[in-house]
Protein backbone atom coordinates (compact mmCIF):
# COMPACT_ATOMS: atom_id res chain seq x y z
CA UNK A 1 0.00 0.00 0.00
CA UNK A 2 1.65 3.17 -1.14
CA UNK A 3 0.34 6.28 0.38
CA UNK A 4 -1.48 8.47 -2.11
CA UNK A 5 -1.20 6.01 -4.94
CA UNK A 6 -4.36 4.24 -5.91
CA UNK A 7 -4.49 0.79 -7.36
CA UNK A 8 -5.81 2.24 -10.58
CA UNK A 9 -2.62 4.11 -11.20
CA UNK A 10 -0.49 1.08 -10.62
CA UNK A 11 -2.63 -1.05 -12.82
CA UNK A 12 -2.37 1.61 -15.48
CA UNK A 13 1.36 1.38 -15.41
CA UNK A 14 1.34 -2.41 -15.59
CA UNK A 15 -1.16 -2.37 -18.40
CA UNK A 16 1.05 0.01 -20.30
CA UNK A 17 4.01 -2.23 -19.67
CA UNK A 18 2.03 -5.19 -20.88
CA UNK A 19 1.08 -3.57 -24.14
CA UNK A 20 4.52 -2.14 -24.67
CA UNK A 21 5.69 -5.69 -24.36
CA UNK A 22 3.18 -6.78 -26.90
CA UNK A 23 4.16 -4.00 -29.24
CA UNK A 24 7.72 -5.08 -28.94
CA UNK A 25 6.84 -8.69 -29.44
CA UNK A 26 5.16 -7.96 -32.71
CA UNK A 27 7.47 -5.34 -34.16
CA UNK A 28 10.94 -6.50 -33.23
CA UNK A 29 12.86 -8.27 -35.92
CA UNK A 30 15.26 -10.06 -33.72
CA UNK A 31 14.41 -13.15 -31.77
CA UNK A 32 16.25 -12.07 -28.67
CA UNK A 33 14.48 -8.74 -28.71
CA UNK A 34 11.24 -10.60 -28.83
CA UNK A 35 12.29 -12.49 -25.76
CA UNK A 36 12.99 -9.19 -24.06
CA UNK A 37 9.47 -8.12 -24.82
CA UNK A 38 8.19 -11.32 -23.31
CA UNK A 39 10.00 -10.42 -20.12
CA UNK A 40 8.17 -7.10 -20.09
CA UNK A 41 4.87 -8.86 -20.42
CA UNK A 42 5.65 -11.31 -17.65
CA UNK A 43 6.87 -8.58 -15.36
CA UNK A 44 3.78 -6.51 -15.83
CA UNK A 45 1.74 -9.51 -14.87
CA UNK A 46 3.91 -10.17 -11.87
CA UNK A 47 3.41 -6.62 -10.65
CA UNK A 48 -0.29 -7.03 -11.13
CA UNK A 49 -0.38 -10.06 -8.90
CA UNK A 50 1.61 -8.34 -6.22
CA UNK A 51 -0.38 -5.14 -6.33
CA UNK A 52 -3.70 -6.83 -6.26
CA UNK A 53 -2.54 -8.96 -3.42
CA UNK A 54 -1.29 -5.98 -1.55
CA UNK A 55 -4.17 -3.64 -2.18
CA UNK A 56 -7.16 -5.90 -2.24
CA UNK A 57 -6.48 -9.18 -0.52
CA UNK A 58 -3.54 -8.72 1.79
CA UNK A 59 -4.68 -11.52 4.11
CA UNK A 60 -3.27 -14.20 1.90
CA UNK A 61 -0.08 -14.10 -0.10
CA UNK A 62 -1.48 -15.83 -3.15
CA UNK A 63 -0.42 -13.12 -5.53
CA UNK A 64 3.04 -12.88 -4.14
CA UNK A 65 3.65 -16.56 -4.40
CA UNK A 66 2.29 -16.51 -7.89
CA UNK A 67 4.78 -13.81 -8.80
CA UNK A 68 7.62 -15.86 -7.46
CA UNK A 69 6.62 -18.77 -9.61
CA UNK A 70 6.17 -16.56 -12.62
CA UNK A 71 9.72 -15.38 -12.22
CA UNK A 72 10.90 -18.96 -11.98
CA UNK A 73 8.99 -20.04 -15.01
CA UNK A 74 10.17 -17.01 -16.91
CA UNK A 75 13.73 -17.96 -16.18
CA UNK A 76 13.19 -21.50 -17.40
CA UNK A 77 11.40 -20.31 -20.47
CA UNK A 78 14.07 -17.82 -21.34
CA UNK A 79 16.77 -20.35 -20.91
CA UNK A 80 15.08 -22.81 -23.16
CA UNK A 81 14.22 -20.21 -25.74
CA UNK A 82 17.75 -18.95 -25.84
CA UNK A 83 19.08 -22.44 -26.27
CA UNK A 84 16.83 -22.97 -29.23
CA UNK A 85 17.78 -19.62 -30.66
CA UNK A 86 21.42 -20.43 -30.31
CA UNK A 87 20.83 -23.73 -32.01
CA UNK A 88 19.11 -21.92 -34.83
CA UNK A 89 22.05 -19.58 -35.02
CA UNK A 90 24.34 -22.54 -35.37
CA UNK A 91 22.29 -23.74 -38.29
CA UNK A 92 21.70 -20.55 -40.21
CA UNK A 93 23.93 -18.01 -38.50
CA UNK A 94 21.06 -15.69 -37.95
CA UNK A 95 18.73 -14.85 -35.13
CA UNK A 96 16.46 -12.73 -37.22
CA UNK A 97 12.76 -13.52 -37.37
CA UNK A 98 13.23 -13.85 -41.10
CA UNK A 99 15.10 -17.05 -40.49
CA UNK A 100 11.99 -18.61 -39.08
CA UNK A 101 9.68 -18.17 -42.01
CA UNK A 102 10.36 -21.22 -44.05
CA UNK A 103 7.15 -22.94 -43.13
CA UNK A 104 4.02 -21.16 -44.17
CA UNK A 105 0.64 -21.28 -45.92
Amino acid sequence: MIQGVSIYEILTVTTLLFFIGIYGFITRKNLISILLSVELILNSVAINFVVINKYLYPDMLQGVYFSVFIIAVAAAETALAISIIINLYRLVTSVEVKATETMKF
Binding site: Y23, G24, S33, K54, P58, V73, A74, I82, I85
Partner: protein, 171 residues
Protein backbone atom coordinates in the same frame (compact mmCIF):
# COMPACT_ATOMS: atom_id res chain seq x y z
CA UNK B 1 7.24 10.91 -0.68
CA UNK B 2 6.27 7.33 -1.53
CA UNK B 3 3.97 8.78 -4.07
CA UNK B 4 6.77 10.67 -5.77
CA UNK B 5 9.00 7.65 -5.73
CA UNK B 6 6.26 5.65 -7.27
CA UNK B 7 5.80 8.15 -10.04
CA UNK B 8 9.48 8.25 -10.72
CA UNK B 9 9.65 4.47 -10.80
CA UNK B 10 6.64 4.34 -13.06
CA UNK B 11 8.19 6.83 -15.38
CA UNK B 12 11.35 4.78 -15.50
CA UNK B 13 9.42 1.64 -16.18
CA UNK B 14 7.38 3.03 -19.00
CA UNK B 15 10.07 5.09 -20.64
CA UNK B 16 12.70 2.42 -20.54
CA UNK B 17 10.22 -0.21 -21.59
CA UNK B 18 9.47 1.87 -24.64
CA UNK B 19 13.12 2.46 -25.19
CA UNK B 20 13.82 -1.20 -24.85
CA UNK B 21 11.33 -2.22 -27.50
CA UNK B 22 12.33 0.50 -29.92
CA UNK B 23 16.07 0.74 -29.57
CA UNK B 24 17.97 -0.38 -32.59
CA UNK B 25 20.99 -1.50 -30.65
CA UNK B 26 20.39 -4.85 -29.12
CA UNK B 27 22.72 -4.41 -26.19
CA UNK B 28 21.12 -1.13 -25.28
CA UNK B 29 17.81 -2.75 -25.50
CA UNK B 30 18.89 -5.31 -22.95
CA UNK B 31 20.24 -2.67 -20.68
CA UNK B 32 17.04 -0.65 -20.87
CA UNK B 33 15.21 -3.76 -19.88
CA UNK B 34 17.51 -4.10 -16.94
CA UNK B 35 16.48 -0.61 -15.87
CA UNK B 36 12.87 -1.53 -16.09
CA UNK B 37 13.46 -4.63 -14.04
CA UNK B 38 15.34 -2.68 -11.43
CA UNK B 39 12.54 -0.16 -11.26
CA UNK B 40 10.14 -2.98 -10.72
CA UNK B 41 12.32 -4.28 -7.93
CA UNK B 42 12.22 -0.81 -6.46
CA UNK B 43 8.51 -0.87 -6.65
CA UNK B 44 8.42 -4.15 -4.75
CA UNK B 45 10.53 -2.57 -2.06
CA UNK B 46 8.11 0.29 -2.02
CA UNK B 47 5.20 -1.89 -1.17
CA UNK B 48 7.16 -3.86 1.36
CA UNK B 49 7.62 -7.07 -0.53
CA UNK B 50 11.31 -7.22 0.07
CA UNK B 51 11.63 -10.88 -0.59
CA UNK B 52 10.11 -10.48 -4.00
CA UNK B 53 12.29 -7.51 -4.73
CA UNK B 54 15.29 -9.57 -3.88
CA UNK B 55 14.25 -12.35 -6.14
CA UNK B 56 13.54 -9.89 -8.87
CA UNK B 57 17.01 -8.53 -8.62
CA UNK B 58 18.79 -11.83 -8.31
CA UNK B 59 16.88 -13.88 -10.78
CA UNK B 60 16.16 -11.24 -13.32
CA UNK B 61 18.90 -8.75 -13.12
CA UNK B 62 21.42 -11.29 -12.00
CA UNK B 63 20.30 -14.24 -14.04
CA UNK B 64 18.16 -13.60 -16.98
CA UNK B 65 19.72 -10.36 -18.07
CA UNK B 66 23.12 -11.89 -17.85
CA UNK B 67 21.90 -14.75 -19.93
CA UNK B 68 20.63 -12.28 -22.48
CA UNK B 69 23.81 -10.31 -22.59
CA UNK B 70 25.79 -13.47 -22.82
CA UNK B 71 23.83 -14.78 -25.74
CA UNK B 72 23.81 -11.42 -27.45
CA UNK B 73 27.52 -11.29 -27.23
CA UNK B 74 27.74 -14.87 -28.40
CA UNK B 75 25.63 -14.64 -31.49
CA UNK B 76 25.31 -11.03 -32.34
CA UNK B 77 27.45 -8.40 -33.81
CA UNK B 78 26.75 -5.78 -31.25
CA UNK B 79 27.69 -2.91 -33.42
CA UNK B 80 25.21 -3.76 -36.15
CA UNK B 81 21.86 -2.10 -35.98
CA UNK B 82 18.71 -4.08 -35.73
CA UNK B 83 16.22 -4.20 -38.53
CA UNK B 84 13.01 -2.48 -37.75
CA UNK B 85 9.58 -3.29 -38.95
CA UNK B 86 8.12 -1.06 -41.63
CA UNK B 87 6.56 2.17 -40.49
CA UNK B 88 3.09 1.10 -41.48
CA UNK B 89 3.42 -2.02 -39.48
CA UNK B 90 4.69 -0.16 -36.46
CA UNK B 91 1.80 2.25 -36.64
CA UNK B 92 -0.67 -0.54 -37.07
CA UNK B 93 0.69 -2.50 -34.17
CA UNK B 94 1.05 0.63 -32.10
CA UNK B 95 -2.55 1.49 -32.72
CA UNK B 96 -3.65 -1.99 -31.89
CA UNK B 97 -1.66 -1.89 -28.68
CA UNK B 98 -3.09 1.49 -27.83
CA UNK B 99 -6.60 0.26 -28.46
CA UNK B 100 -5.87 -2.77 -26.35
CA UNK B 101 -4.41 -0.72 -23.57
CA UNK B 102 -7.22 1.78 -23.77
CA UNK B 103 -9.76 -0.93 -23.63
CA UNK B 104 -8.16 -2.63 -20.69
CA UNK B 105 -7.67 0.60 -18.83
CA UNK B 106 -11.20 1.76 -19.41
CA UNK B 107 -12.45 -1.49 -17.97
CA UNK B 108 -10.05 -1.31 -15.04
CA UNK B 109 -10.88 2.27 -14.24
CA UNK B 110 -14.56 1.52 -14.42
CA UNK B 111 -14.21 -1.24 -11.89
CA UNK B 112 -14.88 -0.31 -8.26
CA UNK B 113 -12.05 -1.91 -6.36
CA UNK B 114 -12.56 -2.25 -2.65
CA UNK B 115 -9.18 -1.61 -1.18
CA UNK B 116 -8.56 -3.60 1.98
CA UNK B 117 -6.94 -2.20 5.04
CA UNK B 118 -3.41 -3.28 5.60
CA UNK B 119 -3.47 -6.65 7.25
CA UNK B 120 -1.15 -8.08 9.77
CA UNK B 121 0.03 -10.74 7.42
CA UNK B 122 3.75 -10.92 7.60
CA UNK B 123 5.77 -10.67 4.43
CA UNK B 124 8.96 -11.66 6.10
CA UNK B 125 11.24 -13.85 4.06
CA UNK B 126 11.04 -16.46 6.75
CA UNK B 127 7.29 -16.68 6.65
CA UNK B 128 7.26 -16.80 2.94
CA UNK B 129 9.83 -19.55 3.00
CA UNK B 130 7.79 -21.53 5.49
CA UNK B 131 4.70 -21.06 3.40
CA UNK B 132 6.63 -22.31 0.46
CA UNK B 133 7.38 -25.56 2.20
CA UNK B 134 4.14 -26.11 4.00
CA UNK B 135 1.74 -28.69 2.71
CA UNK B 136 -1.37 -27.63 4.51
CA UNK B 137 -3.84 -24.94 3.60
CA UNK B 138 -2.04 -22.02 2.09
CA UNK B 139 1.09 -24.12 1.69
CA UNK B 140 3.00 -24.06 -1.52
CA UNK B 141 5.05 -27.22 -1.37
CA UNK B 142 3.32 -28.75 -4.33
CA UNK B 143 4.01 -25.97 -6.81
CA UNK B 144 7.44 -25.73 -5.37
CA UNK B 145 8.11 -29.35 -6.19
CA UNK B 146 6.47 -29.13 -9.57
CA UNK B 147 8.44 -26.08 -10.54
CA UNK B 148 11.55 -27.98 -9.77
CA UNK B 149 10.51 -30.59 -12.23
CA UNK B 150 9.81 -27.83 -14.67
CA UNK B 151 13.24 -26.40 -14.21
CA UNK B 152 14.70 -29.85 -14.62
CA UNK B 153 12.74 -30.39 -17.77
CA UNK B 154 13.75 -27.03 -19.14
CA UNK B 155 17.32 -27.87 -18.38
CA UNK B 156 17.11 -31.19 -20.10
CA UNK B 157 15.38 -29.51 -22.98
CA UNK B 158 18.01 -26.86 -23.30
CA UNK B 159 20.70 -29.47 -23.19
CA UNK B 160 19.30 -31.71 -25.83
CA UNK B 161 18.57 -28.83 -28.13
CA UNK B 162 22.14 -27.81 -27.90
CA UNK B 163 23.42 -31.34 -27.94
CA UNK B 164 23.16 -32.21 -31.59
CA UNK B 165 26.57 -32.90 -33.00
CA UNK B 166 27.31 -30.62 -35.83
CA UNK B 167 27.20 -32.53 -39.02
CA UNK B 168 27.94 -31.32 -42.48
CA UNK B 169 24.47 -31.91 -43.79
CA UNK B 170 22.12 -29.04 -43.46
CA UNK B 171 18.45 -29.45 -43.90
Amino acid sequence: MEQIIFYILSLIMVVFAIASVTSRMILRSVVYLLFVLCAIAGFYFLIDYNYLAAIQLTVYAGGIIVLFIFSVLLIHHIESKLDVASLGRRILVGLASLVGAGLTLSVIWAHPFIVAENSARSTEVRDIGLGMLSYGDGGYILPFEVISILLLAAMIGAIIVAKGTRLTIKD
